[in-house]
Amino acid sequence: MRHSPAPGGARSLRLRAVLAPVIALGLLGAGCSEVVHREAPPTDRLIYPTGIAAVPLQSGGSGLLVLSSNFDLLYDARTGGTAMSVALSTPRTTGLDVPLGPPEVVGDVLRVPSMGGPVTLALDPGLDPPGTARPGGCPGVGSDLALFTSRYTDELMVPTIEADGRLTCGSNCAVALPLQHSDPLGVAVKCAGGMARAYVGHMRASTDGEITEVVLASANDPELSPGEKARPVPWVRRSFRAGLGVYALAYQPERDRLWVTPDGTYANAPIGVVKLGVHCEPTDLDVYGLPCPRVDIAGDVFTWLRGAELRGLAFANPDANGNRNRLFVAVQLFDPDLALRVGGRPSFDVGAALVVLDVSETIAGNPVVSLARIVPLGMGAAQLRVLPPRAGKGDLVAVVSLTDGDLTLYDDDTGAVAKVFALSQGASDPSGFLPGLPQMGKQPYDLAVEQRDDAGTVYDWIYVTSFLSNTVQVVRLLPDAPSDAEIRYTIGRIP
């Protein structure tokens, strides 16, 4: 087939030659300024979903909180993200029986700043359903809170989760973080001793600090002055140094310590431990060379695994004595020799792994980790969650690998991978995916876990956001049979 000539012919070509530099300059100029989109994001779909949380509702059921990141800033940058509460109450029985369509949103969809991160919950135990103790209890916060950062606006968002799962955002919902352009990402919550505080990790290292402490409840906080207690929560109490940019945080309540993984390392991979419970003075750094709060290094994963860059971390469920003696860390692997040659972290990965660490104390009372196991994973492993405890057994850990598109279930009781959701095998795929399709969607970004009843049987549930497929995959498993885990349905699939 022959194409018809371009309209304008030879004259048009000459005109184009004259206008070309002008057009090029114009494009260059356009490229130098930010293209501002003012449109509001649609609220009937997920748009580059990132953070997700399974919310045990005050009403007794479960809800799902999903962030849309507006990653490409197609919509208004400051309000183009969304936080939506998705209903999980609709009975579903088979893998692909959900008709294509928008997620079943509960209440209004919140418009939030773009580039939201992982979601952390702080649930007031006073609002627990009768006879039920919800996980993630945070006495004193007065309501159920969701916490997540915006890397675009350097804010900590703290919307309220109402009894039925609706999300509301009052006047104090957005907390401006004092460290600007610091790439805040991870959030951990400390709820102990009358204190309810959030700790935000900033990926960009700064002399002003890499962790910001935000007070979520002040009434019973023994460290606050009367004036501070009178301030409306949440409010920023301080920022402090962790020594390196912080990628992820995990709070260890029995020791009042904040464990952090660093960002931007290439010659080591230290696991930092912030001793929140140790009294110190800000002048200690000058006088004794000791930071305040005290920061210890519990171990350097690099000594065991060269080329490791630490990503998400999570403690095992507490043992019978309430201690968390295992730490799971997702690591991305780069070529360490190339890193040394170029003097920085190479831009590409060569692998990923789950590092299983034993946590203990030195005789001097400082935290220390030792290597228990290294489990290879799909590339791009970053976020992980520990599933609810199993009686008499080690934990199950779910890890998503963004690059390879995997969801890996690691069984710490057996020390082996129990199940991997990766590319569909076609005809043999139990969920009916076409061959070669990623079962978790493209680029699974984050995940949430919960345990709940389904038709009289208690299952563990895993919810995985797919960044590029704009979906949430729902996986169900019997805690004692993780290798039989199956995809139950997909949320957010748009025809």
Partner: protein
């Protein structure tokens, strides 16, 4: 357009028809590797299969397939389309591979095991991740594919997974007694979850016909435990050379058939029908993560020959790797078990160091220490964590093997090429580690060779830096001047930085302008003595009244018990009902806190350590003026008079808010808050504390507390004005210039018997119950505390590695001309590591008092000595400045280098380290049996998570490695 299409077709045809352009392996997260013999075409199934050949199968974990390359030349087997490598589809995420030989009569000697050359296809099985499915691959028809699957979960009756799998001969009774491999049969042993082992038989369908298909046979799954015993989960397998014993590495407790219980390796007699009744515990010192067994010819000391120069010829051909180690072979093979210890249960502070332990199966004990020193052979140190142990014997032919010239009958030995020079050995092992390297262990010499010399040149074991520094605390350092702490290499000499010392009688020490060249030149041996094999890579600090490691600026409590004792415990303050946190075990002598008499002078044996107490407010504990009156202290000072045993929360009821210290406490000589605000019984106040030694304390950056070196405080520097007070050691550190120079008082940090110390230290292991009665027997002044501190220091000064370095040829240097400093005319080993006099050195006088290295002790081939030995001294530089005492916290610091760099191999592309982050599998293949590749030697093939396979021989150089991608 037509021409373009034609050109493209031509190019395509050319690509299809040529032999160039073999596809790469296109690996996707390789998770396992195996070598098998099979019938296959290098061009893939499109062509007729060739003869039986060796192949390498790599499990592509990310692509649910196997890739295959020719073991002879690492060339990839093509798919029919030739543009891509052949993919053999498997179950999801193939993770483990195993091969078993199904022998035919030509490879079966009477009553024996299969021998090369292999004459029939092997059985190759694949296990997908998270399953107990064994997939059998067709290795006989030229069309590799999964042809049978067996799910061991069905045999168990519940969902299980395979942890580990290994192939082995199927044994049957031999006519002449013993056991032999059965023809056309083999077995796979698989470790299953739940403490189970499975024995899966594979059988050639038509006996004696190599081209016949193979089928799964009988399956036998049994628990490794008995009644009430959950059994143990296997994480690694090894077989005895005769294949009758299966060795199982496990991190679990083993309860064996005789009722013995413990950790280590389980031995199972696989010839028994009910093999679970034959489980035997082999206590190797801790839980294990990898295991191998081997009959090895070891080099042993040659009696009567080790104490002579020149070293007599040794048995391994022309090379004498160990000039000072006169050793020989045999006389018989030793049945050894090699096991990698679980890193969680070994190391400094634990009863055994980490690494690969060697267990003498005939002797029933850990291998003896060839140095005759420690209770057993030190574990062979492997950086990172060992993932597997793969031993091998010499190649069948080629230039990487030879026969010993002096043994009768001659023994076949193989070449090994560390960076320090090629040598020969009988057996070696490759050990992939989590750090990405594959380490080579010389099993016949029982050491890990080094890629750099720890005896010669700049890489030798040595001290590389020395500097003195002020106290970190500016409050203290503000008054620091006038005093020098340094090393006293010989009487009346002081070295305070990495410079040459000068006799103090002729030169005034000038601050900031101290002397010349690098430390430890040959002409000044012994300033800080080191010992190859013991001295670690470490940064050392010797501080005057320094904070004890881990006890600087710690949160603590200061209180008084109802019984009147005033105490300090290092812990976050307890909240009633909660356990205290950040607890330092102050009662543990390993921390190095010393109780004593406050009246004794600083640094004297028996003097009490200091406790600096920083109250939250001075209203809590008013500051008393310090004794010297001119040091602006912000802390209240106390002395350690004794110890209080740990006190935990009661088993029931609310934990009280005071008087609970699970790590124990130090008892103070006096109430530091009196008289301003004395402690009342039951009081407990939150404070910050530092515990400092009464005199010098040595600490290592990694090792922590390393003892209390003495210091010569009588050393003086003329011209020297009269001191304000006459001083001598024992009067508070004030120098006595009127006295003769004090004696040089060496401090020796050296290993001593852990067995003896452990026998007198009931605190090891630390009792988990704070109310344990053993604490009461370990109060201040008891032998228990001395023994426990000795034990802690001994564990920090263990042998790190056995020596196997090469010294220069002694005979190349003329006798009597070695000045002790000119390396051109001396055997450098003699300079750095002098033998005990007499020897041929010309300058005997200069070497008087120098340390000697006992290579020749009673025929022991390994030198022993201290990790560090040095003497400290301090001087005041002038009358017009400085204090009459050394400022607390002043210190000297130096670094020691072990010189060891364990020989390893890693992926290199064009000589540049490339990838090789985490090994996922290793297999060995004797390529010398391949015609035309005789000199390739025994090849180790290692799959890596970052999509490559490393191919190397231990006999080839470090840079001579292949990478398959």
């Amino acid at each position: 357009m037509t021409r373009r299409i034609a050109a493209a077709l031509l190019a395509l045809a050319a690509a299809c028809g040529g032999n160039t352009g073999k596809p790469g392996m296109r690996l996707g997260r390789p998770s396992g590797i195996a070598v098998f013999h099979g019938v296959l075409s290098p061009a893939g199934p499109i062509q007729a299969p060739g003869p039986l050949s060796p192949w390498i199968a790599v499990a592509n974990g990310a692509a649910n397939e196997l890739r295959i390359v020719a073991a002879a030349d690492d060339s990839t087997v093509s798919a029919p389309g030739r543009f891509f490598p052949l993919a053999v589809p498997t179950g999801p995420r193939p993770e483990r591979l195993a091969v078993a030989i199904l022998p035919v009569p030509s490879q079966l000697p009477p009553g024996g095991l299969p021998r090369p050359p292999t004459a029939a296809p092997d059985a190759l099985v694949v296990v997908p991740a998270g399953t107990a499915e064994l997939e059998l691959i067709d290795t006989w028809s030229g069309l590799p594919a999964v042809v049978a699957t067996i799910d061991l979960s069905a045999a168990v009756g519940s969902t299980v997974e395979v942890f580990a799998i290994v192939g082995a001969p199927a044994l049957e009774p031999a006519a002449g007694g013993g056991w032999q491999a059965a023809q056309d049969r083999a077995v796979f042993w698989a470790a299953l979850t739940g403490g189970r082992l499975a024995r899966v038989e594979v059988v050639r369908r038509n006996a004696g016909q190599p081209g016949s298909p193979v089928d799964f046979g009988a399956v036998d799954v049994r628990s490794t435990g008995g009644s009430g015993n959950p059994g143990f989960d296997a994480v690694g397998f090894g077989f005895s050379p005769d294949s009758t014993k299966l060795y199982v590495a496990t991190q679990d407790t083993i309860v064996d058939a005789l009722g013995a219980s413990g950790v280590g390796v389980a031995e199972i007699d696989v010839t028994a029908v009910d093999w679970t009744t034959t489980v035997r515990l082999i206590p190797v010192g801790g839980p294990t993560v990898a295991v191998a067994a081997m009959d090895v010819m070891e080099r042993n000391p040659v009696a009567g020959q080790a104490n002579t120069y020149p070293v007599p010829p040794v048995a391994f051909g022309a090379y004498s790797l160990d000039k000072h180690l006169a050793v020989g072979l045999g006389p018989t093979r030793r049945r050894n078990l090699y096991a990698a210890l679980d890193p969680a249960s070994c190391g400094v502070g634990k009863p055994i160091a980490c690494g690969i332990v060697v267990f003498d199966l005939d002797g029933g004990a850990l291998h003896e220490d060839p140095a005759g020193e420690q209770a057993h052979l030190s574990p062979l140190n492997i950086p990172g964590v060992a993932l597997a142990i793969l031993p091998t014997r010499p190649p069948a032919t080629g230039n990487e093997q030879t026969l010993t010239p002096t043994d009768a009958p001659a023994l076949q030995i193989q070449m090994i090429s560390p960076g320090t020079g090629q040598t020969w050995t009988e057996s070696l092992a490759a050990v992939p580690s989590t750090d990405g390297r594959v380490y080579i262990v010389d099993l016949s010499r029982l050491f890990t060779p080094s890629d750099r010399s720890y005896l010669r040149g700049d890489t030798r074991t040595q001290i590389v830096g020395l500097q003195q520094a002020r106290a970190a605390d500016p409050e203290k350092a503000a008054t620091f001047y006038g005093w020098y702490i340094g090393i006293e290499p010989q009487p009346n000499q002081l070295l305070v930085n990495s410079s040459s010392p000068q006799p103090l009688a002729s030169q005034t020490v000038l601050e900031g302008s101290l002397w010349g060249p690098a430390i430890d030149p040959p002409s000044w041996p012994g300033r800080i003595r080191v010992t190859p094999g013991y001295t670690p890579d470490e940064t050392w600090t010797a501080a005057w009244q320094g904070a004890l490691p881990g006890l600087q600026q710690r949160r603590g409590v200061l209180g008084r018990l109802g019984s009147g004792e005033v105490y300090v415990a290092v812990q976050t303050r307890i909240v009633a009902g909660q356990q205290p946190n950040d607890v330092a075990n102050l009662f543990d002598p390993a921390l190095g806190v010393h109780a004593g008499d406050p009246a004794l002078a600083d640094g004297d044996a028996g003097a009490a350590d200091y406790v600096e107490i920083y109250p939250d407010t001075f209203a809590d504990c008013p500051l008393s003026p310090p004794a010297t009156g001119n040091i602006p202290l912000t802390y209240v000072e106390a002395r350690v008079a004794g110890f209080l045993p740990p006190v935990g929360c009661p088993a029931s009821g609310t934990c009280p808010g005071t008087g609970v210290f699970p790590g124990g406490a130090v008892r103070l000589a006096a109430d530091p808050c009196a008289p301003g605000n004395p402690l009342q019984p039951g009081d407990e106040r939150a404070v910050t504390v530092t515990i400092a030694s009464s005199g010098m304390v040595l600490s290592g950056q990694a090792l922590g507390y390393a003892g209390r070196p003495p210091i010569d405080l009588a050393l003086s520097l003329p011209p020297w004005p009269p001191p304000s007070t006459g001083g001598k050691p024992g009067n508070g550190g004030v120098p006595d210039t009127q006295q003769p120079h004090g004696p040089r008082i060496p401090y020796v940090l050296q290993w001593s018997s852990e067995t003896a110390a452990a026998a007198s230290c009931p605190l090891d292991p630390w009792p988990t119950d704070p109310s344990s009665p053993v604490f009461a027997g370990c109060l201040e002044g008891t032998a228990c505390r001395t023994a426990c501190e000795t034990l802690a220091l001994a564990r920090k000064t263990r042998r790190l590695f056995y020596l196997g370095d090469l010294c220069p040829d002694h005979l190349a240097f003329p006798f009597g001309q070695c000045s002790g400093s000119n390396t051109g005319e001396c055997d450098t080993c003699e300079i750095y590591w002098p033998l005990a006099p007499p020897d041929e050195r010309a300058d005997q006088a200069q070497w008087a008092g120098a340390p000697v290295y006992s290579y020749d002790w009673e025929g022991r081939p390994q030198p022993t000595g201290p990790a560090l030995e040095f003497a400290l001294a301090a001087v005041k530089s002038g009358a017009d400045k400085g204090e009459d005492r050394i400022i607390r916290g002043s210190f000297i610091q130096f670094q020691s280098k072990s010189g060891m760099l364990q020989t390893s191999r890693r992926p290199l592309v064009s000589g540049t380290a490339t990838g090789g982050v985490l090994p996922t599998g290793i297999v060995v293949f004797d390529r010398s049996r391949v015609p035309g590749r005789e000199n390739d030697g025994v090849r180790f093939l290692v799959s890596y998570v970052d999509n490559l396979v490393l191919d190397f021989s231990a006999g080839k150089g470090i840079g001579d490695v292949g990478v398959i991608q």
